[in-house]
């Protein structure tokens, strides 16, 4: 299907922000009708490269050619005019307009009537139907968009790109908010786009997806081209190794030696529409994985125990042998439970506080005397964590919003690693975190479990749960659907978690 003539050639692209060189001499080629997966750790330069293509950033060096002709895309509007479309991770639609209006918003068909120029409703409908047909979709074009499911909204976005004569579509983590079934529907759409000679740059963290859908894989690392593979002949291992720069075996630290002592025991934990009589126990020194797909209850289980969802009537929870009733986050913290939430931007970081102030926030009392915070002690403490976890920041008072995702996550984790913490609950601890930082996070966790900390690691990443955890449980529609005592493979986990009646 892919033709030989290159649709897009980016050569020798360089870009720096201030003193930080983000891209050096990067090349990228895309043919019409081809899906090119763009892989790389966070901070590898993927998004910068794509933003240069889409006219958001200006390149410092290099050339961009479309159909052999050199172009200067300095504004997003120019990129769109050249047929380059970017679909961000978060679907961006106009929720109160109809499907057809959303698709053709940039070029609404008009007609003359005695009242003046008006939107031509029937032409609008017809053109929307034609475009939706190209994607194999039968969404009603009159439907208001906020009523649609997320994959349907995604389709509307793609149809809008087609309406603008898109030749290159850049998709950034398009399946991040989709279930597996919905993702497959999206793949079918991508196949159709290929058939219509559209070039697709597909950014994703999920290797499974990349291997299922792409023709070629380009890997960036630290702003360089780190490897290029034809998907049919590539192995997952060599792709991972080129992303990581080292061997993937080093990503997960050796397992620990859990004790027999139970740190946290949960029985009959229920929460409306999410959890149904969930029971499990975590031992001291152990990392217990909780795996599940979206909507399985993994979004609630950790925070319910911590107290972020309020009291849990009916649940019997024991912490270190003593009865504990979740009430609110402060209660959880005070009895020795730590909690790192999944949504780092919304629920994790305090963006305007500095690195040091973020690190000491939960246990600021330990740095306070007569209401005043001892700043020398606070800065010493923060410096020790910055050194231990390799947190990259200009200085200790740098606002946390200015750090990369991986470094922010290190701060969110290190907040809780204090003397006296019994149980640490982590939700999706490495979502959007680059591989180097992941390695450091796992190592830090293992160091603390060696001292007796119990960790509950809630994740929808099967490879992570299989790679890191000592034991794992699997949730499916709010119930525990499987328990694994060590050595579970990602396939084992997925096997008992697949939501079967979802088609």
């Amino acid at each position: 299907m892919a033709t030989d003539s290159p649709l897009l050639v980016m050569e020798g692209i360089g870009k720096s922000f201030g003193s930080a060189q983000v891209l050096r001499d990067v090349d990228l080629r895309l043919r019409a009708g081809e899906v090119l997966a763009l892989l790389g750790a966070n901070g590898a330069g993927k998004s910068t490269l794509v933003k240069i293509l889409c006219g958001v950033y200006r390149r410092d060096a290099g050339t961009v050619r479309l159909d052999g002709e050199q172009v200067h895309l300095t504004r997003p509007e120019e990129a769109i005019a050249h047929g380059v479309r970017f679909l961000p991770q978060e679907v961006s639609v106009l929720p109160d307009l109809s499907v057809a209006e959303n698709i053709l918003i940039a070029d609404l068909p008009l007609k003359r009537t005695w009242r003046g120029r008006e939107v031509d409703r029937s032409a609008l409908r017809d053109r929307a139907v034609t475009l939706l047909d190209r994607l194999g979709s039968d969404i009603d074009p009159e439907q208001v968009v906020h009523r649609l499911s997320s994959p349907q909204k995604r389709l509307v976005e793609i149809a809008r790109a087609l309406a603008g004569q898109a030749r290159i579509i850049v998709m950034d983590e398009p399946t991040a908010a989709l279930t597996e079934h919905e993702a497959h529907a999206l793949f079918a759409v991508v196949e159709r786009l290929k058939g219509q000679q559209i070039g697709i740059i597909y950014i994703s963290h999920y290797l499974d997806e990349v291997f299922a859908i792409s023709d070629r894989i380009a890997v960036l690392r630290d702003g360089f081209n780190a490897g290029e593979f034809a998907t049919v002949s590539a192995s997952r291992r060599e792709v991972l190794d080129s992303m990581l720069g080292t061997s993937v075996d080093e990503l997960y630290p050796p397992r620990g030696k859990p004790t027999d002592e139970i740190a946290l025991e949960v029985e009959n934990l229920s929460f409306p529409a999410a959890l149904n009589q969930v029971s499990f126990a975590v031992h001291r020194g152990e990392i217990l994985g909780v795996f599940g797909l979206l909507g399985s209850g993994i979004d609630q289980v950790g925070r319910a125990v911590y107290g972020a969802l309020g009291p849990m009537p009916g649940a019997i929870i024991a912490l270190g042998g003593r009865s504990y009733a979740p009430a609110d986050p402060r209660r959880g913290r005070d009895v020795g439970i730590g909690f790192v939430a999944a949504e780092r931007q919304r629920e994790g970081i305090v963006p305007d506080l500095g690195v040091a102030a973020n690190l000491t926030l939960p246990f600021i009392d330990r740095f306070t005397r007569f209401a005043a915070v001892s700043r020398p002690r606070e800065l010493d403490y923060a410096q020790s964590w910055v050194d231990r976890l390799g947190i990259r920041s200009a200085h200790l008072r740098q606002e946390l919003r200015l750090l990369s995702g991986g470094n922010q996550q290190k701060v969110c984790l290190a907040r809780w690693l204090v003397e006296g913490l019994e149980v640490l609950i982590l939700e999706e601890p490495t979502r959007g975190v680059d591989l180097g930082a992941r390695q450091e996070l796992y190592l830090a966790l293992r160091q603390w479990t060696a001292k007796g900390l119990a960790v509950l690691l809630v994740s929808s990443d099967a490879e992570e749960v299989a790679g890191v955890c000592d034991r794992a449980i699997v949730l499916d529609r709010g119930r525990v659907s499987g328990r694994f005592a060590g050595g579970a493979s990602p396939a084992d986990l997925l096997h008992v978690s697949t939501v079967k009646d979802h088609s």
């Binding site: 402060r330 629920e347 305007d352 005043a372």
Partner: protein
């Protein structure tokens, strides 16, 4: 280094304000020999003190993600309450304490509405503003009530260590708040709550309690401000302070506090209060009509907010 990155360095906003302040001061002193005299400087400080008091607590409240539009109305009511109580024979100290307690109570009510009931603070405090302003008019029949009591009037016109009492009072409040915000655990909670309330709550920061305290203190500051104003004017007018609400918000914003919470300093606010006072004073000395003074104040505010946008964009890119 581009201007945008320079502007985005910490403290740049306050430094810029200081430069602007100096430029204004030099300009006025060139145009009016009176301007730079000690007495005139002191009178600027004394005249702005009652506004400065309201700004002082509005600043941490806005940093923490709240807003209190009723504060100026509270000032009006508290003056009226003292005047009426005093006229009916209540001792002046008791009358002042009652007025302060009333201000704190109104502040807690605002907190109750905005924090516990989750109403939008803009709407909730606009509601209380209207109720309180109305009550002050009802209580006085719309008339100004005289309030002559030497001890009390000292609060507005007296001297302490050669400085006007209102100015000293205001500076003490700023110094205390400066320490509170920069050095204490409570100050940390204020910034955390405004920067990301949900993340703060999840690590155990008492977000709701922090805001409740700040709303209460804001009400208290309104009442204190009303006392100072009534003491200065030897009278309490129900609508004396209400017209200054916009100046209060303008000073806080001009001082670099983000209306979205999480960022700002008390010193920026103090500088902005003095700048606005100086502008008014200088323009008055130059016989510019007070109508033009509104125009000037608005322009300065727009300039400051525009500059803040530039800084925010530089930070985002």
């Amino acid at each position: 280094m581009s201007i945008a990155t320079l502007l985005n360095r910490p403290g740049a906003g306050v430094a810029l304000l200081l430069v602007f302040y100096l430029v204004v001061a030099v300009l006025f002193s060139a145009l009016s020999p009176w301007f730079l005299s000690f007495d005139n400087m002191m009178s600027i400080g004394a005249n702005m003190a009652f506004i400065g008091l309201m700004c002082a607590l509005q600043t941490p409240l806005i940093i923490a993600g709240g807003l209190d539009l009723s504060v100026a109305a509270v000032a009006g009511l508290s003056g009226v309450v003292v005047a009426l109580l005093h006229a009916s024979g209540v001792g002046i100290v008791a009358a002042c304490l009652i007025a302060l307690a009333l201000g704190a109570a109104i502040g807690s009510l605002n907190g109750l509405l905005a924090v516990r009931l989750g109403l939008n603070p803009l709407i909730a405090t606009m509601g209380t503003m209207s109720v309180i302003g109305g009550l002050a008019l009802v209580l006085t029949g719309g008339l100004t009530k005289p309030l002559m009591e030497p001890g009390f009037n000292w609060l507005g016109g007296g001297q302490l260590l050669g400085l006007p009492v209102p100015l000293v009072l205001m500076l003490l409040v700023y110094i205390a708040l400066g320490w509170l915000l920069a050095r204490t655990r409570f100050g940390r909670f204020v910034y955390a709550a405004g920067s990301n309330p949900e993340a703060s709550r999840l690590v155990g920061v008492p977000v709701a309690r922090t805001l409740m305290i700040l709303y209460t203190l804001s009400g208290l500051s309104g009442a204190a401000s009303g006392l100072v104003l009534a003491a200065m004017l030897y009278a309490a007018a129900p609508d004396a302070a209400g017209q200054h609400l916009l100046t209060v918000i303008a000073a806080v914003v001009l001082g670099g506090t983000s209306l979205f919470g999480g960022r700002g300093t008390i010193w920026g606010t103090l500088l902005a209060v003095l700048l606005l006072g100086t502008l008014n004073n200088g323009l008055t000395l130059m016989d510019v009509s007070s109508f033009w003074q509104d125009v000037t104040r608005g322009t300065v505010l727009l300039l400051a907010v525009g500059l803040d946008q530039v800084r925010t964009r530089a930070a985002g890119g």
